[in-house]
Structures are given as C-alpha cells and as structure tokens.
Assembly symmetry: C2
Homo-oligomer: 263 residues x 2
C-alpha cells in the first residue's frame, strides 16, 4: 500500500505527552507529514472549536482529544486513530488476523494507561491530585503490586510465543502496538521507577522490545528532538514518589540507553 501524501492534523492538549503521544510515535516512526495543531499559534482555539462542534460535515464527533483530521475524516479515540493510521503508515500487520491482534493489544494497553492515570486520580478527574491523595496511595499500591505485574506478564507472554523468530507483538514486523508498548514502559519507568524496575525483572522480552523501538532511527531522532515533550506532573504518568514503592540499593531510574547492548 502506498504511503499517503496527506498532511495529518493531530489535535491534542499542548504541554503533555498524554494519549496524543501514542499517535505522535506512529506518525514520527513513519516520517509522516503532520501538524501538531494545538502547539501552533491559534491551535488551541481550533481544537476547542472542533471539540465544541465539528460541524455537520464531520465524519464523527470527538468526545475528547486526541483526534485526527485526515482529509475529510475526523477520528477520535487513540485506538481508532491508530487502527486507521496503521496500514497507511506501514505500521500494521498485513493480514486481517494480524490487524485484529494489533487492535486488541492496543486496547489492552489503553486499559493499562487508564489504570495508570487513575493511580493519581482514583476519585475524580474534576478534582486535583491533592484532593485525593490518601485514595491515590491505596490505588497505587494495588496498581504496583497487582496490575503492573499482571499486564507486564501478559505482554511478556505475547512476545514469548513467537519464539526466536518474532521480535514484535504481532510477529516479525513492528506495528503501532509495539510503539505504544514502548510508550507505556517509558511512562511507568518515569512514574513508578522502583516498582517498575522490580516487576520488569520478569519481563526481559518487554524490555528488549522497548530498546528495539527506541533504536528505530526515526524514533531515536524524535526522542532527541524538541517535539518530544518531557514527562511531567500534568500528564498521565506522574512521578509522585509517595505513590511508588520504596527504593532500595538500585538507582531510581534504570539507565537503559536506546542503543545499549542487549543481554
């Protein structure tokens, strides 16, 4: 399939990686032309206008950012955007079965991301973290002890079944779901450095996948660029030390270099 010569318009809150980052990674990896609309002058007004009323000609109504404009299409929901972009960017499996698998893995990552978000907002997105700190501590403990290991173990299992041949979730080729798994790992390393490092000891394949994705030339260039926003405490993944597990002798954030030698 020929790559589209479209210029995509990505609409997402400026200032955070958030869910927009899953779309950015796909666009960047493919070297696609896109505008990160809300980070341009006047872009926030454009975002808010579309969110309020996309007009009768829009192909669908977005509930929340991110959403993507591609020609006449307006698409919201991260997984739907990626399901659309995947084949166009060369980031989807070739078969229907493979594409369904990529969508399914993306949706499981979306569940994981929502749970990561709720560690600091277990009561209400409409209230500040400071208004729900005791609850956040309780929810984070469960997330660290039950959920991170469960999701990590699951993706480790998915990666293991391909044997030596398969390097990615859906086989030998990288899909958008792999880029998204990379992003979740990065987010968890930032937000829960101690808990993640501990749980990841049992997930060497996930860590190796993270390195493979980070070493892809376009991704490596993107991560070094100013387009890659740093993680911060307005986003989904927040480094609140009180929500992480206590540290031990190990350094707080494992210094995995993008091109570090694999074990």
């Amino acid at each position: 399939m020929p790559k589209s010569s479209n210029t995509y318009e990505l609409y997402y809150w400026p200032g955070i990686q958030g869910r927009g980052e899953f779309v950015r990674l796909a666009l960047e990896d493919a070297g696609a032309r896109y505008v990160d609309v809300a980070r341009e002058a006047g872009g926030m007004r454009a975002l808010e206008r579309l969110l309020k009323d996309p007009g009768p000609a829009a192909s669908a109504v977005p509930f929340a950012p991110p959403f993507l404009r591609s020609g006449k299409l307006l698409i919201a929901q991260t997984a739907a955007i990626l399901q659309y972009l995947g084949p166009r960017l060369g980031l989807a499996p070739a078969t229907d079965a493979g594409r369904l698998a990529a969508l399914q893995y993306q949706l499981t990552l979306a569940d994981w991301v929502a749970e990561a978000h709720d560690t600091h907002h277990p009561i209400a997105v409409s209230q500040y973290y400071e208004e729900q700190k005791p609850e956040a501590r309780r929810r984070s403990q469960d997330f660290r002890e039950q959920r991170i290991p469960k999701f990590l173990g699951y993706f480790e299992r998915v990666l293991a079944r391909g044997g030596k041949r398969a390097s990615y979730l859906t086989g030998a080729r990288c899909s958008y779901a792999d880029l998204s798994l990379f992003q979740v790992v990065e987010g968890l390393r930032y937000a829960f450095p101690n808990a993640f490092a501990r749980a990841a000891r049992k997930a060497p394949r996930v860590l190796a996948l993270r390195e493979r994705v980070a070493a892809r030339p376009n991704i490596a260039a993107y991560l070094r660029s100013p387009r890659r926003l740093p993680f911060n405490e307005d986003g989904i993944f927040r480094a609140y030390p009180e929500l992480d597990a206590p540290g031990n002798a190990r350094p707080k954030r494992a210094p995995i270099e993008p091109r570090a030698k694999r074990k």
Copy 2:
C-alpha cells in the same frame, strides 16, 4: 456481504452480563448462531484453558474475557470483537468513515463503562466493594454529577446532528454501537436510577434510541429469554442505593416499556 454461516464461540464469565453482553446483543440482534461457552457444561474449564494458554496457533492472546472464537480467529477486547463482527452481522456502517465512527463511539462507551465499574471499585479490583465503600461514595458522586451528564450530553449531541433523518449514532441504520449505547443506558438505569433519570431529562434522543433498540424484534425476544441474565451485584452495573443520588417523588426506576409510545 453475506452473513457468515459460522458458529461463533463467545467466552465470558457466566452469571453476569458484564462486557460479554455487548457481544451478546450484537449476536442476538443478528440472529447469529453462537455458543455462550462458559454457560455450557465444562465451559468454564475451556475458558480458563484458553486464558492460560491459547496455544501457538491462536491468532492472538486474550488478556481477559470476553473473547470470541470465529474459525481460526481468537479475538479479545469487546470493541475489537465488535469491529470484527459488525460487518459480518449487518451491524456496521457501509463506509470506512462510518466504520471508524462506530469504533470510536464504541470506545467512548467502553470508557464510560470502565468509569461505571470504578464507582464501586475505585481502589482495587482485587478487593471487595466492602473494603472501599467510602472511596466508592466519593467516586460515585463525581460520576453522577459530572460524568453521567457529560457522556449523556455527548451522545445526545451525536444523535442530534443527523436531524430528523438519522435515528442512530452513525446514521439511518442501527450499528453495534447503538446496541451498546442501549446496554449502557440499561445498566445506568439499574445502578443509578435516580441520578440517571435526572440526567436523562436532557437526553431525549438517547432515551428514544434506547426504545428503538429494545423494540427490535430479535432484541425484544432476547430480553424476554432466559439467555438475558438479570443485572446483579457481581457485574459492572450494581444497584447500591448508597451510591445513587437520593430519590424524590418519582418512582425509583422509570417504567419505560420497550414499545411505549415516544413523546
């Protein structure tokens, strides 16, 4: 597209509607042949076996039920299952834009469902409701006052933009996303009768859609059948009066009949 002559195998926890119900409604509406595997003798063992290890030939690995077996495909994640089934059951729009819209609405419904679940489990799915009751009260208040109106208003807006012509989310024809919106409304009427009745006054189009779906012959027959499990307090939507808004003079559950005359 010809309807498949496949017998689908649906794998979901027996005893609750849960997320499996969104798949059941699509299969039932289309009159598709399917086995609700875990409700058959020995079915729970089959479910658990696939969940533990679907084998090297499986097209993907499920993280959790529901998952569907269709020929050689194994598909998990409700929205991915419906994205697969939709065209095969005559429950998806004909155009790519329409199918993306249906997926996007389904994913927004999935977010709403996850939030409804977390009203009674704001801290940990691994703990009982009784262990997180004060937090559940706080989260439910926000869900009732902020989130139900926000989601309802959104779907009302989606339904309004088609004008008189469009009766469904994606246009003149019913898609799986409409069946899912019906189910979310039913769940909210069960779990939050007072709060929902109040918020729904501003969402007449959503209520009318609910009636139209309930009146579809195969859905009406299904709802009367023993295959339709009742809502209960093991599922996603739970009738805990302490989490609902206080009642007033109105009856606790609005007696909307499937075929009641529309206003």
